[in-house]
Symmetry: none
Subunit: 219 residues, 2 copies
DNA sequence: GTTTAGCTGACAGGAAGCTGAACGGCAAAG
DNA sequence: CTTTGCCGTTCAGCTTCCTGTCAGCTAAAC
């Protein structure tokens, strides 16, 4: 499940992001509303975790404008205050859930799972890339000859490219996403996986920028 | 919207019932779990408000058995306690929302409206999957050679997959649906049941995604 | 032509998953 | 009360296929 976490506190944000990742979801962390808007413009998300105390605007207004634009993405509010009027305001603005800081990470996980359960069966947002149809949430790719399954590593690399369409992603950036901080691999693993990706998805899906990295193709 | 309110305190029960009625919904008030079971056997409900402190049994167990029977009716828990473990237990037992007493009736209304929005238009007792015809409510599956019976565990796993067609369901997610929050099983039970499911329903009904989980097949 | 970066087929090792068998518990049947 | 059969769980051995590595190759840069 793709989750957008809007939170300006680096400590809390990092902890929540790690927890989400540990649950098998894919978190993106936005420290400001402006940054969140950029991410939302380029990527679909399955859940938004929204801190109300942000430096560049009222979270409630952000949520309201999101709903006004027709977005149905579930939103869970995180806030330090627990005044009932605020909770009502949040829920009326279109929030689906409400958590008061400090909260237990385990409870957050349970609630995220509840959202996942609740929205199961809803069609996932699809990304179209040439002849490929990509369902990020389901890790599924439909090609011209039916379903294409990727292994975990293959998926991570493909996803890293999908997350930055048009941008160059360096090998070291990809390595950072695959491996733990310290344990480095000293070989051409990335190249091997890019090769496997191209074999499964088509030659043009990944472009090579010599000396720089890779970029998503536009076939 | 038909709402079943399970609450033994006559004062609070009456107030909530009146509030629900004022919102244009149809409330039934059950003071005990036994009475609630009778009502559920005869009437379908769109939402259940469940008090946890009831005279004739643990509300959590009631909820769990409801889910085990395949009910997908949304359940909102009302409780006087706000211990985090209890909230987690409730959400993991299959609750969709959680309110702590004393709560504001206006907030309750907002949350009920959210559920109504969420579940607007929700028919579908019969699911077709390839040659299988599945009646979720009746726990019945008709295959090409007649009726197929599943054991309880087999059904829970199959249902977990049915609830998220096309999506990946991890083993830990399935475990969460089968077992209580703390009691973990340290073996390949899920794998054994998947194996048995495939034997009964057909090889292609369940797909394996290495390292991720399982997915409903598309035969 | 030489150098350098990147590509890819092959392969060993191991992790993840599958499944037949067995065992104890429990409930229905006798 | 005993028997019977089903169900849930565990285990062991097997199969599958993922991963990281290397070697030799291709293609771009100069």
């Amino acid at each position: 499940m793709r989750i957008l976490l809007i939170e300006d506190d680096p400590g809390l944000g990092g902890a929540v992001r790690d927890q989400i990742a540990a649950e098998g979801h894919v978190p993106d962390l936005a420290p400001t509303l402006a940054y969140a808007r950029d991410l939302l413009a380029t990527m679909p998300y399955d859940l938004i975790l929204l801190d109300l105390g942000l430096p560049d605007g009222r979270g409630i207004d952000f949520l309201r404008s999101l709903r006004a634009k027709g977005s149905v993405t579930p939103v869970m509010i995180l806030t330090a205050h627990d005044r009932i009027t605020e909770r009502i305001e949040g829920l009326n603005a279109g929030a689906d859930d409400y958590m008061v800081k400090p909260f237990d990470l385990a409870e957050l996980s349970a609630r995220i799972a509840a959202v996942a359960r609740r929205y199961a069966g809803n069609p996932n947002p699809l990304i179209t890339l040439g002849r490929l149809e990509i369902d990020l949430a389901a890790h599924a790719i439909h090609g011209p000859e039916g379903q294409i399954d990727l292994s975990q590593r293959e998926w991570i690399i493909f996803e890293a490219l999908l997350q930055r369409p048009g941008q160059i992603v360096s090998k070291s950036q990809i390595e950072d996403q695959i491996y733990a901080f310290d344990s480095e691999v000293e070989s051409n693993t990335i190249e091997v996986y890019v090769s496997r990706l191209r074999k499964k998805l088509g030659k043009d899906v990944v472009q090579t920028l010599r000396g720089l990295g890779y970029r998503l193709g536009t076939p």
